[in-house]
């Protein structure tokens, strides 16, 4: 369906320096494939996606769509874009139109569909993304998740052959990521061809038939989702998929913003799909702070999560300490009992700079 060969994109910065965002991208995209494009930031994922529908025209190479070279001089780009939908990070809904008008507008103006047909189809699409009841409101009154679902419906209204998703959940509040991902999952089930630039590893692993791992301006590794995540062939891929997510809190004195910390921990859990670990994490934190750690300020608290192994832990690290705070005299056995019931495992270990208590959740 889409054949990309030797695609490159070079930016000339105003200061004269040259930036090779895409160096040599080659791939073949077949109908029905759901491809997630993952990789560190700044490696050209979005640029590649935006090069495919020429929003960011490439500077070299070729893109063949349904047998036609879309980089040819007089190729009608807008005709191609009618078949290649795009969903943006920032939704880009038309703010001066109602939700339904957003969905109907392109079919009416471009395909010259009658108002009735467009309205029926638009409502059907809104129903599909669960927003039929919002048909007549303006986008300004919608939440981010709702806006993105409208954007997907708007894109579907043109009946595209392939949809490009450019980080569809990155601008969303973590609580709203799920509703958007479930709509995309549904599309995947229906066999829609899709390319998705995403940072949602679990989603990418679950929904994709294929993964592009992009690094240094090329497709560094290309393979089935299972293989890329579980047996990555190249070390950079491995380092990326096995990386550990973390949120760090430096607690210096009792004036620390503890309620703010709770919010950040909650966001962290929602963001990495471990909402069920939210409550135990709070309880363990409160218990530790109340019974032990208040005597060890300043210390560092860290919550970590590995997306691949799904291991989550809370680390309490005190600099210059040589023995475990849990082993100090005066720590009640009842407290230790309670702590153990909350955690899978407790590790007490000295580090190069001090001592660490690791609670696995």
């Amino acid at each position: 369906m889409i054949t990309v060969s030797h695609l490159s994109k070079t930016y000339y910065n105003p200061d004269g320096s040259i930036l090779h965002v895409l160096k040599d991208v080659n791939c073949e995209i077949n109908p029905g494939e759901v491809i997630s494009i993952i990789g560190p930031s700044g490696t050209g994922k979005s640029t590649f996606l935006r090069a495919l529908n020429l929003l960011d025209p490439p500077t070299g190479g070729s893109i063949v769509f349904n047998g036609e070279n879309i980089l040819a001089k007089d190729y009608p780009v807008h005709k191609m874009r009618q078949k290649v939908g795009m969903v943006f990070q920032n939704f880009n809904l038309f703010d001066h139109m109602t939700v339904l008008e957003n969905v109907m507008y392109a079919p009416c103006k471009i395909k010259k569909e009658s108002l009735e047909t467009a309205r029926e189809e638009g409502l059907a699409l809104l129903r599909k993304v669960g927003l039929a009841e919002k048909a007549d409101v303006y986008p300004a009154s919608l939440s981010g998740g709702q806006k993105q679902r409208v954007a997907i419906a708007r894109c579907l209204a043109m009946k595209p052959e392939v949809i490009l998703f450019d980080e569809p959940t990155s601008a969303l509040d973590p609580t709203m990521v799920g509703e958007v991902l479930s709509v995309i999952r549904q599309l995947a089930k229906e066999g829609m061809t899709m390319l998705i630039v995403t940072h949602e590893m679990k989603f990418a692993r679950d929904v994709s038939t294929r993964i592009f791992f992009m690094n240094e301006g090329i497709i560094y590794e290309d393979g089935p989702a299972r293989q890329v995540f579980e047996k990555p062939r190249r070390s950079a891929t491995k380092a990326f998929v096995q990386r550990i997510r973390k949120e760090v809190f430096q607690i210096d004195d009792p004036d620390f913003d503890f309620p703010g910390m709770e919010t950040r921990i909650r966001r962290f859990c929602i963001k990495y799909n471990i909402a069920e670990k939210c409550e135990p994490a709070f309880q363990a934190c409160q218990l530790m702070l109340k019974e032990v750690m208040s005597a060890y300020m300043p210390f560092t608290l860290r919550i970590t999560h590995s997306e691949l192994s799904a291991d989550t832990s809370l680390d309490f690290m005190v600099e210059g300490l040589e023995s475990s705070p849990l082993a100090a005299p005066g720590v009640s056995p009842a407290f230790l009992e309670q702590l153990r019931s909350l955690c899978k495992d407790i590790v007490e270990e000295p580090t190069t700079r001090g001592f660490r208590v690791k609670l696995s959740l």
């Binding site: 807008h78 005709k79 939908g85 943006f88 880009n92 038309f94 008008e101 392109a106 471009i110 043109m158």
Partner: protein, 489 residues
């Protein structure tokens, strides 16, 4: 609205009738002016004479009617002007008298550029002939006694139907020198010029210039001959050519006649009489309608042209060529730094002085130049406020670049920019009130012309104000209609 208007009227009428009884001013000689507030018309011979006197407070006015109004409202104690301008009828109506009539009279004639000696000679010849056959005396008997003012229809020499027009600038809009009624000029000097036209088989094209700028009209070649009670002075004779003086006018010192005691009218009859005198008599409303048309025409064309020029400026500001950016910057700086009136005068008296471009088109150009700068700013703010994502979304759906602009970006930009645009239009409309300086009879000038005939400030100003109010409201209404509909499909 009605209440507001009545209130406004009341305030104005209070001002115009204010002042208590004072002792009358007695003048024995020019020296007695010492310590008094003296007014005259700017650019006149009295302006030159009195400005050297340190012992008086001199106030200059733009027209005879302003001068009279100032005297009536006791802003000045003495008004200095030609005796003939405030004739007996005017003096009686306005409760004033001549305190002192100067012995020395000023010879008065028509003024031309030095290279126009043919016209001067012809005029002189006509005058000499008229003096010989007695028709000059008849003319003076009619105009220079107060006889004409008693008659309902003024004497009038018919105009020549065709030929290259003689361009006449007149500095006076006052009877009996030269004055307008129902679109037609009358007066002693007009009659003399018509004799000239008849002699040369050329019609007259008469334009009223500001007393301050009328000499410029002749020196820049915009007019062939200047009339309007122009005194022959040695300084003027150095630079200009004069025909033979047809008469000598006495300067007079006018003061309020405290004994006459103005009749006080009730507010309602005051307004009634005011409306009749200022609007209905002699079809004076025609000045208003013609002026309104002129104001509308200039504003509309300037907005149209300025909006288009603004598009050009906007495009240049967004072009890839550096020199275009520099030009736009320079242009905007120039427009920001020059007063509208000054640009208007430069265009009219310097740039297009001899090009034959009609004065209303010069005004359109001047205001369009101003409007373009503001309009391009408005395009900048309103288009710039539409996020680039809107364009990208349109393109990604399959709209072409042009479609994306017109279907998606522009409707949003118009909504943002329209209030700014409306403000710009309103300020342009009001700004056009200065076109009187280049001899265009717009709405404001129409009010001035009526005032110069009726010597009444309240009603003409009020009517003109009211019409401007309505126009501003109309602009708002029109632009509201132009706003894209809420429903896009």
């Amino acid at each position: 609205m009605k209440k507001l208007l009545l209130f406004f009227l009341l305030i104005l009428s209070l001002f115009s009738c204010s002042g208590g009884s004072e002792q009358g001013i007695v003048l024995q000689s020019e020296a007695d002016l010492s310590g008094l507030r003296v007014g005259t018309v700017s650019g006149s011979i009295y302006d030159l004479q009195l400005s050297s006197r340190k012992d008086i407070t001199l106030q200059l006015f733009n027209s005879e009617s302003d001068l009279l109004q100032a005297l009536k409202n006791r802003k000045i104690d003495v008004a200095v002007h030609d005796e003939v301008v405030f004739n007996a009828v005017v003096r009686k109506e306005n409760g004033m008298k001549i305190a002192l009539l100067e012995e020395q009279a000023f010879p008065t004639a028509f003024m031309m550029r030095k290279d126009n000696s043919e016209l001067a000679q012809t005029l002189t010849a006509i005058q000499e002939r008229m003096e010989a056959d007695g028709s000059m005396q008849r003319l003076k008997d009619y105009w220079l006694t107060d006889r004409y003012a008693q008659e309902s229809a003024y004497s009038h020499i018919p105009a020549e139907p065709s030929g290259k027009p003689i361009r006449v600038a007149t500095a006076a809009d006052s009877s009996p020198i030269s004055f307008l009624i129902d679109g037609e000029w009358y007066g002693i000097e007009i009659d003399l010029l018509r004799e000239l036209g008849r002699e040369l088989h050329r019609p007259l094209e008469i334009k009223r210039y500001d007393s301050g700028s009328c000499i410029m009209a002749v020196s820049s070649g915009l007019a062939d001959v200047l009339c309007g009670c122009i005194f022959v002075t040695p300084e003027r004779e150095e630079q200009f050519l004069f025909s033979k003086p047809y008469h000598s006018y006495h300067p007079a010192y006018f003061v309020l006649d405290t004994e006459a005691g103005m009749e006080r009218e009730s507010l309602i009859t005051g307004i009634k009489n005011g409306v009749r005198k200022n609007i209905l008599v002699e079809n004076r409303w025609k000045f208003i309608t013609d002026g309104l048309w002129e104001t509308l025409k200039i504003s509309f064309l300037a907005i149209l042209l300025g909006s288009l020029l603004g598009v050009g400026l906007y495009a240049m500001a967004h072009s890839r060529r550096g020199w275009m950016h520099a030009f736009v910057k320079l242009y905007n700086g120039f427009i920001a730094g020059i007063p509208e009136l000054v640009l208007l005068l430069i265009l009219f008296y310097v740039v297009f002085a001899r090009s034959g471009v009609p004065s209303d088109m010069v005004a359109v150009m001047a205001f369009a130049l101003f409007f373009a700068s503001g309009a391009s700013d408005i395009y900048e703010t309103s288009l710039g406020a539409i996020p680039h994502g809107q364009t990208e979304a349109g393109l990604a759906l399959g709209f072409t670049r042009v479609q994306t602009f017109f279907h998606i970006v522009l409707p949003q930009a118009i909504r943002r920019g329209l209030p700014l645009y409306r403000g710009q239009c309103v300020s342009l409309l009001k700004g056009t009130s200065i076109v009187g300086y280049i001899a265009i009879q717009d709405l404001t000038r129409a009010g001035d012309i009526i005032r110069s005939r009726t010597f009444d400030a309240v009603i003409p100003l009020l009517v003109v104000t009211l019409i401007y109010f309505l126009l501003v409201w109309l602009i708002g209404l029109l632009l509201k209609l132009a706003t894209p509909k809420k429903k896009v499909l």
